[in-house]
């Protein structure tokens, strides 16, 4: 089947180039909606009001994201017509539109996230002029430049930029040497993780936007003496926060490699000025959890997709080392996990990598599949299984405790099927939804 395609949808790992697995082409959008978009992320700032200025086609998705979250009262929009693009009124249309919206709101939001789109940037809109004028008209409100620019996704992914802009409204304040922040996540880090326990048990105050209930709590993030990130988007957010607010940044990427996890904790403890504990017990607990899970799941094929975990190849290696039968990975690149990729290419050369968006994936779900345990929504959809781990971007899991928790989720998914159709349609895992 694959051989007949001009652009194959899958490739053996032994034959794959780790930088780019598949030729670019037209793209299919599978109906799984758990990943967050920029609207979900922006809603994390307590009290923030979002205003999108863009064409109707672009507005539709963001507005209905807010509608499904029951949050239309925190979302307004300004539509852009063809005429607007060419008559020299781009900036004034946005300024006047924002002014109109803010006058109509029943309250004055502390911060407005103002999103412009690809066409604005291509037209050379002067965002700074817009922000300056709005700040002069509404001095009590913060205006933050935000971007819905998927055309620029290869140079600046919108999710990365959004993660960084989450902290743009923060006002600098004196540093508290006993305060640290986890930056750039769209969900809280598991309290059981060694990361959070190290911070809390050593008397540090932990700031995390996902836990903020008020705008003042949010502003207190700026007191952090250390900004920690562990996701790719978080890394960019941490770097930006360091540049803007002087919060020293430490990136300790979420990993499934024991030595990297340990090294990350050494770095963390060094940054916090605390002794690094021994993690033998945590490692043993993770190993035991993997072994217990493998005893139950057995040789059932496992499929992992890149939306579930940020390092699917590392997870595949770890699971394989513990006896799992990892057969499929859905991903477009392994650029951040070369060592795991090479190990798998050597030890599991027939492991098959699938494209997430190739047009020839359209009917893949309807083909006959052996029963598969999926880690992630795309894997669940494509392999037509109700047995899947329903997380995105690591699900807040981290470290050895994260590995233990993930294996427990895999066991649970193996034993207890989910209603795929209703779970996969829910937009933004963890967000409120009128569909539930």
């Amino acid at each position: 089947m694959n051989a007949a395609y001009e652009k194959p949808r899958s490739i053996r790992i032994a034959d794959a180039n780790p930088s780019v697995f598949f030729a670019s082409g037209l793209e299919y959008n599978p109906p799984v909606r758990g990943m967050w978009n920029i609207v979900h992320t922006g809603m994390l700032i307590p009290g923030a009001h979002q205003i999108f200025a863009c064409a109707q086609g672009c507005l539709r998705g963001v507005i209905l994201t807010a509608a499904e979250m029951n949050a239309l009262d925190r979302m307004s929009w300004i539509s852009v017509s063809e005429q607007d693009m060419y008559d020299g009124t781009l900036e004034t249309d946005i300024i006047d539109g924002c002014t109109d919206i803010l006058h109509k709101l029943p309250y004055r939001p502390p911060v407005v996230l103002l999103f412009l789109s690809c066409i604005h940037l291509f037209a050379g809109v002067d965002f700074e002029i817009i922000l300056t004028e709005l700040r002069s008209r509404f001095p009590e409100t913060e205006f933050t430049d935000c971007y819905m620019t998927p055309t620029m996704r290869q140079t600046m992914p919108p999710a990365f930029k959004m993660a960084a802009q989450l902290y743009a409204p923060l006002k600098p304040r004196p540093k508290n040497p006993r305060a640290v922040a986890i930056l750039g996540n769209d969900r809280a880090t598991d309290e059981r993780s060694e990361l959070v326990r190290l911070i809390r048990q050593n008397g540090f105050r932990l700031h995390d936007l996902t836990l903020c209930r008020t705008y003042e709590e949010y502003q207190q993030i700026a007191e952090s003496a250390l900004g920690i990130s562990y996701t790719p988007a978080g890394k960019f957010a941490g770097e930006e926060a360091e540049r803007r607010l002087g919060i020293p940044h430490l990136h300790i990427p979420a990993s499934f490699d024991y030595s990297e996890i340990t090294a990350n904790y050494w770095l963390l403890c060094d940054s916090l000025g605390i002794p690094c504990p021994d993690f033998s017990a945590e490692i043993a607990a993770a190993d035991n959890a993997l072994d217990r899970s493998c005893a139950i799941i057995g040789d059932t094929p496992v499929a992992i997709d890149f939306t579930a975990v940020t390092r699917p190849f590392e997870l595949a290696k770890l699971l394989t080392e513990h006896g799992f039968s990892v057969r499929y990975i859905i991903a477009d690149t392994a650029s951040d996990e070369q060592a795991a990729f090479q190990w798998l290419a050597e030890h599991c050369p027939d492991l098959e990598i699938f494209s997430a968006v190739n047009v020839n994936m359209l009917h893949f779900r309807q083909e006959t599949h052996e029963p598969v345990l999926a880690v992630g929504q795309k894997a669940a959809y494509y392999f037509a299984t109700d047995h899947f781990v329903n997380i995105v971007v690591n699900g807040g899991l981290y470290g050895f405790a994260g590995i233990q928790a993930l294996t427990e989720l895999m066991t649970d998914a193996f034993l207890t099927p989910k209603d795929s159709a209703s779970v996969l349609r829910h937009k933004g895992i963890g967000c409120a939804s009128c569909l539930l």
Binding site: L26, G57, L64, L72, I78, S79, V80, G97, C118, M148
Partner: protein, 380 residues
Amino acid sequence: MKNVSRIIPCYAADTSGVCSALYELGGMTVVHDASGCNSTYATHDEPRWYDRQSLIFISALTEMDAIMGNDEKLIADVVSAAHDRNPAFIAVCGSPMPMMTGVDFDAAAAEIERRSGIRTFAMHTNGTHSYINGASEALYTIAKEYVRDIPKAAGTGVNILGATPLDFGLGGTAASLRQWLHENGFSAVSCFAMGDSLDSLKKAASAKVSLVISQTGIPAAQYLFEQFGIPYVCGIPTGTEFSKIIADALKEAAQTGTPLYPCAIGNSADRGDITVIGESISACSAAAELHLQTGRKTRVICPLPFEPACMNGALESPASEEEIERELAAYIPEIIAADPLYRMICPPQAKFLELPHYAFSGRCFDKRIPDYVNPNLFRL
């Protein structure tokens, strides 16, 4: 301000209209866009996406290709995908970025057709118009490209024009219409474009009359009228009273060869005791039934493009959030029938009848989208 909304959504865009109209016909529709159009369409504008696959793709336009005017990438990728998927036809349409860079979709379509050997047409969307524009062009194009003159079918064959989930969801309206036609002595020749294959649509010229159930069917209806002399009737046979009028109108139009707009009676007052907000033909049909049932004055507010004849000669209607809110506040109807998301700008004193509209609220109320042919739908 006309281009501003504080709280209500916007309608589905023209690109979604094209995709929705062509969804079931076996073609391949390609939106030249970075990523948002397909995600938005597949998530919020297309209820068939999970259970019924269709060749709807995006070009995944990048910044560099846009800057460099790399139309060759679009053309080559479409031809490659056509090789792999073998569609019945190819439609290519544009989004805001190609509008900015001035992509010539007619030329691109011609080149794709030359290389692939598959009939290819351009849809002239740019993401700044409503789904009405896109779906209208798509249905018109299918009629123009594929309908050829053939002998009339026995009895009174009817084309149903303007059926897409954007206006009717999967609430059963299209299937119920076929049943209703059968029960009233008609037969459905084709349905543009739900529940029928491209081969069925090709036979549309064998019908004696067309039933236009949304504005998206008007250009196709006019084409079939001008090309094959098939008259059309605008309206949905909704409720117990208005459905009789539609049945009579279909017979009359088939006999006289004259287009009729019976739905227009729904919009007969400047300030209706009952006001319906929505797509012109469905809203007017609902208003007509409410008028016939109650004898009260009814008015339709249509924020979308419409045919004046369907709206009783009206040339314009409040369209923006501000205009609609101000208009309703000025006379406060007793009853407002509209998508539930309009409730946020309606006077609280008015009784609100929920009329979920997929092209407006997407999936939010998808389980409650009505079957317009249900005779009890508008029973007060």
